[in-house]
Amino acid sequence: MKNNQLILITLGVLALQFLIGPWLTIRGVRPDFFLILIVYIGVSNGSFFAVIVGFLCGLIIDGIGVGSYFGLSSLIYVLTGYLSGFLKGKYQRFIPATFTIIWIGIVLLSFFIYSFFRFQYLWDTDFLQFLNIWILTSFYTLSLMGILQFVRPLR
């Protein structure tokens, strides 16, 4: 992806998150289009771009859309971008299943950190409920990523 393309796609995802996100909300959970974007950027452009885009996207989200923990989205997206950047050009080296498991792992890790911060008390008081929230939130975004693989596979 070229820089202009990157900016356009990021703006598109921003619009998608604002306009479509609320419509796709199920029981208070909505998909994270930014996370998907950052994984894609990381895999196709490498860590450097993914980290920068992730940080900026996180700032936008936190600047206008969170009640508390300003900076959490930036932290998560920066980490996601950095980790997914290691997958750049590795599709040919790994078998597809390993490659897929790694990016699924990165998404799960991102949502784990998110859930850990947001639902700290559940970690202590009701671990099953914590797992439920973590898996449900991750699964929703992963499902969309799964559908996206038919249109534009990660590689």
Partner: protein
């Protein structure tokens, strides 16, 4: 020097990562710093500038459906006209509520919800009133059903509301008619939990939960929800009370900001 420069350039992805990670962590620690609050309030003002026309368009689109619904409702009301006499009891009750509203003398500023956050879990919403309308930080936000949250950031024309689904949102409540107090926090869906409730308190399912008035933010007796379950914790001197929250955030479109409570003056 040149070596350091080359090392940075060749490891730019690692350097950028650590740098931005540090900045993110730093931001997490300075959430309430005035500068950060100022930047965020300006950001929501700018952002709401784009959202207002969008919200206007949405409301226009919704008008057609709303009109159909109203026509349907009107027809039903005509058919049910005869039953109105039997509703006198309800009318009296509503009148009592109106009297209560007058007595409480809350100054309410109506607001439209422009956006309900964009993170995977909604923790805030942006409303279209700000400092120009008299709204300030830490003011209660309610719907016609009950408590929704409190303002945490105020721009000139818009504000960010921390809603009850944010894990850091707590509210001091009173369970009626018993009068027992406790601290309420959201646990998922439309449910919340009240902690620090006396173990010997006589609480029944169906009891009403209202604000206690202990905080400076929420005036007392604002409806919060209804008790759905009571759990005694073994080995502790408190019980947990489950509450179904009165305000359904998934349907909420209009709210009120409580500007002042005459009782406090």
């Amino acid at each position: 020097m040149r070596r350091i420069y080359l090392a940075i350039v060749s490891n730019r992805q690692h350097v950028t990562f650590f740098l931005l990670l540090l900045i993110s962590v730093r931001l997490l620690f300075i959430n309430n710093a005035p500068n950060v609050q100022l930047i965020r309030s300006k950001a929501i003002d700018t952002f709401s500038f784009f959202l207002v026309p969008l919200e206007y368009y949405r409301s226009l689109v919704g008008l057609h459906d709303e009109n159909d619904q109203l026509r349907n409702q009107n027809l039903q009301l005509k058919l049910e006209l005869e039953e109105f006499l039997n509703l006198k009891k309800d009318y009296d009750h509503l009148r009592e509520l109106l009297e209560f509203r007058k007595q409480s003398q809350l100054t309410l500023v109506p607001a439209n919800v422009l956006m309900k956050g964009i993170t995977p879990h909604a923790t805030s919403m942006i409303i279209d009133v700000g400092q120009k309308d008299g709204v300030q930080k830490n003011m209660a936000v309610v719907s016609s059903d009950g408590v929704v949250g409190k303002t945490i950031l105020c721009g000139d024309f818009s504000s960010t509301v921390q809603i009850y689904t944010d894990m850091n949102f707590r509210i001091s409540v009173r369970i009626q008619p018993n009068g027992t107090t406790g601290i309420l926090r959201w646990i998922g869906g439309n449910e919340a939990e009240i902690q620090e409730v006396r173990k010997n308190a006589d609480i029944s399912i169906g009891d009403r939960v209202v604000t206690s008035g202990f905080s400076n933010i929420f005036p007392k007796y604002l409806p919060v929800g209804t008790v759905t379950g009571v759990e005694n914790i073994r080995g502790r001197y408190e019980k947990k009370v489950r509450v179904e929250l009165a305000s359904d955030l998934s349907r909420i479109a209009d709210v009120f900001v409580v500007i002042k409570d005459a009782h406090e003056e």
